[in-house]
Subunit: 254 residues, 2 copies
C-alpha cells in the first residue's frame, strides 16, 4: 500500500471490496485504528491523506474531514478512532480486545481519559512550543505516573492482560511519540528509566507486539516529521519511497 | 433526596449501600447519568456538589473533581458520563438501552459526536456571551439539522426506537437547555417549529418519557440558573426548598 498522501484534486482510488481506512501516516489517532485492524488480522486497505489540503471525498466518510475514518461499505464511513475501534471489536469478534467485565471496561476507559492531559502537553510541546507552561509538563508526568501505577496494580504484561487489548492499542500511539520530544531538545519530557521502570519495561514489550512492530516508527522519524510540521510545512510523504525506490520496479501509474 | 449542594468543608454523607451518583443539579453531563439510572430503574442515592467550592472528598471518586461520578462500591468511583452510562447499561442489563448491532451503536455515537459543536455554542452563548460568533450559531444549527435529519431517516419515535435509549438520554440534557437561550435574549438559538418540525415533535415526546419527566426543568428555570452563573455567582441551591418548605416539617439538622 502506498505511503503517498492524497490531496485536493486527487481521485479517490477504486474501492477494493475490503474495509478501507483513511489515515495520515503520522497521526496517533489513525494509528489506534491501524493497530486494532492489525491485531485482529482484519484484511483492509488504507488511503493516506494530506490534512492541510484535504481531498474533497474525505468528507463523504468523515463530516469534519478528520482521520481516521473507516469505509465499512462502499461510500459509507465511520469516523473517530474510538468509535471505529469499538465497532471493529464488536463486528469482528474473533480476536476480542475488550475485557468482558463492565467494571474493567470502565477502568480501561478512565485510564485512557486520564492520559488526555499528557497528550495535550505533547501536542503543545511538539507544535506550539512557545505556549508550553510548567503546569503542562507537570500534567504530562502526572499522566505517566497514573499509567505506571496502573501497570503496577494490574501486574500483567500488558494493561489488557497477557496479551495487549484495546486499552493498550489506544494508549500506545502517544507513548510512541512522547519519546521523540527529548530528541527535539525537550528534556523535561524524557521518560526516565529509573523513575518509570515499570512503564519503560511496558514500552519495550509493546514495541515487540506484532501489530505495533509493523507500523511503529522510530523516535527519530517522529522527530523529523514534528520538525517539519512545527515549521508549518508538514512533510507527509517523507516515508514515501515509491518515486526513488529501485528495489521494487513499479508499473507506470494508471 | 436533598437538592442542597455540598461544598468545601461539608462532610460526605454516610454511604447507604446503594449506588451513589455525585452530580450538580444543573449539569447536563450529570443529567445524562441520572436519566439512565432512572430509565433502568436502578435504586440509587445522589449527592449534589458545589462545583466552585468542591468538597474535598469528590476527588476520591473523580480525579479532576468533575461530575457526574458514580460510587459503585463504597469509596470507589467511576467518572465521566459516558463511561458511567455504558457501565450501568452493561452491569445492569435488565432494561437494555443500547442497540445490539455494532453499526447502529457506532451510528449512535457518531450522532452524539456531531452535536458537540452545538453544545459548545450553547455554552458560549449562555456563559461567555461576548465571545459568541456567527460561525458558532451556524454550528449550532448544523447540529440541530443533523439531529432532525437522523430522526427523519430512522423514522422511529425516539432515536433508539419505539422506546428511548442511551443515545436519547445522552442528547436530551442539551436539548432541554437549548430552549432556555431565547428566554435570555438569544433569539438566534430558537428552535423554530416549522423548520424543525420533526425535532420539535421529538422534544415533546422526550419531555413525557418518565425518566426525563421526573428530572427535567423548565426553560425558565434553566434561564434563571444560567443568569446567576453568567454573573459569576451560580445559584446552585435555587431549587432547595428544605429551609423554607412548610409542607414537610424537617427534623433539626443532626
Amino acid at each position: 500500500m502506498s505511503e503517498k498522501h492524497l490531496q485536493t484534486g486527487d481521485e479517490l482510488p477504486a474501492f477494493g471490496g475490503k474495509l478501507r481506512l483513511f489515515a495520515m501516516r503520522f497521526c496517533p489517532y489513525a494509528e489506534r485504528s491501524i493497530l486494532v485492524l492489525n491485531a485482529k488480522k482484519i484484511p483492509y486497505d488504507h488511503v493516506f491523506i494530506n490534512l492541510d489540503q484535504k481531498p474533497e471525498w474525505i468528507f463523504t466518510f468523515s463530516p469534519k474531514g478528520t482521520v481516521p475514518a473507516l469505509e465499512y461499505e462502499q461510500g459509507k464511513g465511520i469516523f473517530d478512532s474510538n468509535i471505529i475501534n469499538y465497532y471493529l471489536d464488536e463486528k469482528y469478534p474473533e480476536v476480542p480486545l475488550q475485557p468482558t467485565d463492565p467494571l474493567r471496561k470502565a477502568q480501561d476507559k478512565m485510564l485512557v481519559e486520564q492520559l488526555t492531559g499528557a497528550q495535550s502537553a505533547y501536542y503543545t510541546a511538539a507544535f506550539s512550543s512557545p505556549s508550553l507552561t510548567p503546569s503542562m509538563v507537570e500534567t504530562y508526568h502526572k499522566g505517566l505516573e497514573v499509567l505506571q501505577k496502573e501497570l503496577e496494580v494490574r501486574k500483567t504484561k500488558f494493561l489488557h492482560g497477557d496479551e495487549p487489548g484495546l486499552v493498550d492499542y489506544t494508549i500506545w500511539p502517544f507513548l510512541e511519540r512522547f519519546q521523540a520530544l527529548p530528541l527535539l531538545g525537550k528534556q523535561e519530557f524524557a521518560i526516565d528509566k529509573s523513575k518509570y521502570d515499570v512503564l519503560t519495561k511496558y514500552i519495550e514489550e509493546m514495541k515487540n507486539v506484532p501489530a505495533v512492530k509493523s507500523y511503529c516508527l522510530a523516535p527519530e522519524t517522529h522527530a523529523k516529521y514534528i520538525e517539519s510540521r512545527a515549521k508549518g510545512n508538514p512533510d507527509y510523504n517523507m516515508l514515501d519511497t515509491s518515486a526513488v525506490c529501485c528495489m521494487r520496479p513499479r508499473k507506470k501509474k494508471e
